[in-house]
Symmetry: C2
Subunit: 344 residues, 2 copies
Amino acid sequence: MGRAGRTGGVTMHDVAARAGVSIKTVSNVLNEYPYIRPATRERVEQAIAELGYQVNLSARNLRRGSTGIIGLALPELRLPYFAELADSVIGAAEREGLTVLIEQTGAERTRELAVLTSAQRQLTDGLLYSPLALDLADLTSLRLDFPMVLLGERIFGADADHVTMANVDAARAATEHLLARGRRRVATVGAHPGEASGSAVLRLQGYREALEAAGLPFEPALVAEAWFWNRAAGAAAMDRLLDSGVGVDAVFAMNDALALGVLHALHRRGVAVPEQVAVIGFDDIEEAQYSAPTLSSISPGRDQIAQTAVRLLRERIDRGDAAGPPRTVVAEFTVVARESTATS
Amino acid sequence: MGRAGRTGGVTMHDVAARAGVSIKTVSNVLNEYPYIRPATRERVEQAIAELGYQVNLSARNLRRGSTGIIGLALPELRLPYFAELADSVIGAAEREGLTVLIEQTGAERTRELAVLTSAQRQLTDGLLYSPLALDLADLTSLRLDFPMVLLGERIFGADADHVTMANVDAARAATEHLLARGRRRVATVGAHPGEASGSAVLRLQGYREALEAAGLPFEPALVAEAWFWNRAAGAAAMDRLLDSGVGVDAVFAMNDALALGVLHALHRRGVAVPEQVAVIGFDDIEEAQYSAPTLSSISPGRDQIAQTAVRLLRERIDRGDAAGPPRTVVAEFTVVARESTATS
DNA sequence: TTGTACGCGTTATCAA
DNA sequence: TTGATAACGCGTACAA
C-alpha cells in the first residue's frame, strides 16, 4: 500500500526542531491558537514552508475523533437529477469546510441498507441520505447513532431530519398546469403500484388531488407505472399508454428523466408536443432547458435543498446530538413553463 | 465535533477481553491472517458480533499509512459526461476495494492547481485527475510525489500516466462520418483559439485532417469557438454560425453537451436536423439516445477508461512508485450513428 | 506564552 | 498459533 503520509514524511517534530520550538507550539500555530508571540509564529510558519509540511489528516482524525467528511448516499450519479444534487451538495459542503464522500446505492434495498452499516460511516462525521427503496421499518430497526439528514422525500415516522420537496403540492401544481391549458386526458408516468410510501406515492396523490379539484374522474388506465425513473422507462411507459389506445392529451411525468423518455417516445411515433400531447416533468434538470421541445417542469429548489441539508447535518455534528428531535424542512418549488406545455 | 468513532466506542481491546484473547489476535482475525485456530477465530468473531465492533478506520489509516481512498478531480458533476465518468470510476474503484472522493475544479486553473497541493491529497492514496485548464508547465513545476493518473486528454511531455481518448482520430472519424453522408459545409463547434494543447486543439486537428483527406479547404469561418463545453455555449455558437451567413450543412460538435445546444439552437430557428444540417457530437452520453432527434456521437469507451485508470492507479499505489516510468493507454472509440446524421 | 508526556485504536515486530 | 509492546502523528491536560 502507498503511504498516505505524503509530504516526504515531514512531521510536526521536524517542524518544531527546525523552528527551535516544541511540537505543541507548532500545533498551536496550525490550529490558530491566539496566544502566540508573533515572532514565534513566524519562525514556525517559515519552518513549515521550508519543509513543505502538511498535517497528517489520519493522525488528526484519530486524535480528534472526527474527519470533516460527510457522506452523500444517492442512487446513481448518472441520473441527472442526482448529479446536479451532488454538485450542489459539494458546493454547499465546501463553503462549510466539509468534504463529501459519495456512495452510490443503485436504488437497491440491500445496498441502501449497507450504506447505513458500512465501515465508511466510521470515516464520516455524518450522512446525507437519499434512499429510494428503504422504508420506515428498515430505518427504525437499525438504531443509528450517527448524524443523518434524509434528502428528497419524507419517510413518515422516521426519527430523523428531513429536507424534502412538497411532493404532493408540486405534483398537484404540475397537473393543474396541464388542466389549466385545457387538457382533460391527463396521464401520469412513474407510478409504483403497491408501494405505501415514497415519492411515487406522493406525486400520484398530488395528481389525483388536481383531477378531483377539477371535477375529473381518476382513471387507472391513465396511470403508467415505471419503477426506474430513467429515460428508458419513461419511453417504454409512454409506448404502453399509446398502444393501449386510451386517449391521452397530456402527461405528468414524475421526474424529468421519465419526461424526456416520454418526449422521445412521442417524437419517435410522430406525436406532436405540445399540440397533441403536452408534457410536464419534475426536477427541472438542466437538460429540460435544451430538449426539443424544451420541457416544462417543477423546480424543486435544488440549491436550497442542498444548502439546508448541509446546514442541518453540520448542526447535528457540531452539537453531537445524533438523536436530537427530528426536524423537517420543506423546500419551495416553482412551476417552470416551457414549450412542452405551451398553448398554441 | 462529532465522534467518528461510531460503534459506541467499542475497541479491539473490548473485543479481546470479551473473547479472552489478546488484541493482536483480534487484529489477526480481522485481517484474515491464516494461522489462527478455528476455535479462536470463532470466539473472536462472536465477540465482534455481540459487541457490534467495527474497526476504527482513522486508526487503521494512521497505522497503515494509507486510506483506501482515491481522489477523482473533475471539472463539474453537472456536465453529464463527467457525471457518467464519475459513475464508472466509482464502480471500477468499488470492485478494487477502493473508495472515491470527488473534487470539483470548475475547470478553473487556480482550483485545478489547488487540487494538487490540497490537504485532501494526504487523505488519499492517489489521484485520478481530469484537468482542463492546466498545462505542462503547471504540472512539472510542482514535483508531485503521489500516485496520479491523468484522465481524458494527454498533456504532452508530462511525466505521468495517461488514460486518454484518441482525440485526433475520433474527431477525424466524426468529421468523416459527416463527409461520407455527402455534407460539404461542415462546421465545428468548441474551438479554443490560441490554446496549444488540450482536447479542443486535438479535436480541431482531427477535423482538419478529415477535410484535408477529402480535398476540402479549411475555412476558419466554419470554426466556432466555445470555451465552456456546455449546452448554452453550444447553442450560442450555433446561433453565431447561422447569423454569420456562412453556409453550413453539418456540424461536428466537440462534445455532446455542445451538440445538444446546437440541436436546440437549430430547433429554435426551425432548421431541420438532419435534413438541412446534420450534427454529430462526442462522448456518447446517455442523453444522446433520447434527444430529438437522437444524437450521433463518438463513444469513447467510458467504462474501459474508468477501469483502466483505476487499475493503473492501483498499481502505482501498490508498488509505491509514484515516480515510475509513465504509461499511456489510449481507449478505443466507436462512431455511433443516430438520427441526427441519418441519410434521408 | 510554551513545553512535557500521554492517549487516540491500529498494525507490526518480536518472542514465547 | 498467540501475546506483549512499540510505533504511527497529532492534540491536549498539566506543568512550568
